[in-house]
Symmetry: C2
Subunit: 215 residues, 2 copies
């Protein structure tokens, strides 16, 4: 745990308050139930959750995959769609299979990085997953992004411009590199302050409990 | 649901009592916590569970894999070992990483098929997983199998002979083919009477609930 001295004050307490990094890709199927669940569970456990969108594509490429493994391995893919449907039904979440799958998540991830520096970031993230997995909308179309931003307290034109700056593009690349450095190989993934990695919507509770105990 | 008429009696009730097929490979890591949990959970839900050992190897081969995906994808493998360790700790189960991994499960599966036609089959299955994942013993060595059988009410010599008969070898091949036909792509997997497939130790509860509701 890092201890930083700023103007004579130890920030140990602030820096080691329980937190969890929540790594997700907007195209990732099980990131949908995870992002819809994480807020309430994290509040209950008093764990701060950092939303960290990244891109799975470059990580899949290093594993030799040019698309989702759910497309490459047909039986695994068919089970996943059925299982996701059952999981969403169990949570009372609307579900509609996105077509095509996967959709490029680059634009959504860049906008999210803009928004997570502002107040509307987390709402934007949830709205993107709802558009994609509940409403059958295309998240790779700027029109969908525009519609979502207009429903939030965001300056749509300014945000879409900011999302295309080199600074934001570089930041998304750096976040993806960081995820890979942490050995993230799928999404959602959860990483604690002491470096424990948990993969999958099924591990959200365990990751929060770990963060709380060791944070 | 099949209804069979035998000598004028409808067997509908007997044939549709809730049951769940539990497909596992003795080399499969998450089959270890699953097999140690399934008995008590199934009794609580009043669901009959059929132990169905099979071989993942031939199924992995059709996916282009010559060994476990946990060996082929290093980050995924490292996460799995750590996650399995955490899972076992949470359940109070001893855990020791098998070396080498995976070990051939052919001999254990053949003996299990002999035993599951007798009283000692399920105890044998659990004992094999304990030997492999708690005690660091080699399940691909006949000596380990002999030791386990001697601790059960089995005629060791007769059983080892039966396990090498063409009938049992063919049966294991047929079970593996059946698993593939059901679209089993990993282990453990659970399959209900109405054809729902659930993959993974994490889905055991959901599979039992489904079997109970629809059985």
């Amino acid at each position: 745990m890092a201890t930083t001295i700023i103007q004579g004050f130890e920030l140990r307490t602030a820096m080691t308050a329980p937190y969890l990094d929540f790594w997700f890709d907007f195209a990732s199927t099980y990131s949908y139930p995870a992002i819809m669940r994480v807020g309430a569970l994290a509040r209950r456990e008093a764990v701060a959750v950092n939303f960290r969108p990244f891109l799975l594509g470059p990580i899949f490429k290093t594993q030799g995959w040019n698309t989702s493994p759910f497309n490459l391995y047909a039986a695994k893919g068919r089970h996943m769609w059925r299982d996701l449907e059952r999981t969403c039904a169990g949570l009372g979440l609307e579900f509609r299979r996105p077509e095509p799958f996967p959709q490029s998540s680059v634009l959504a991830a860049r906008i999210a990085l803009v928004g997570l520096g502002d107040k509307w970031g987390e709402d934007f993230c949830r709205a993107v997953f709802t558009a994609e997995f509940a409403e059958g909308r295309r998240i790779d179309e700027p029109e969908t992004m525009r519609g979502i931003l207009e429903g939030l307290s965001a300056d749509t034109v300014a945000v879409l411009e900011a999302a295309q700056t080199t600074a934001i593009k570089d930041r998304l690349r750096a976040e993806t590199a960081k995820a890979q450095e942490l050995e993230v190989f799928g999404a959602p993934s959860f990483c604690t302050a002491d470096g424990e990695l948990f993969w999958g919507n099924d591990r959200l509770e365990a990751a929060l409990a770990w963060a709380k105990r060791t944070g």
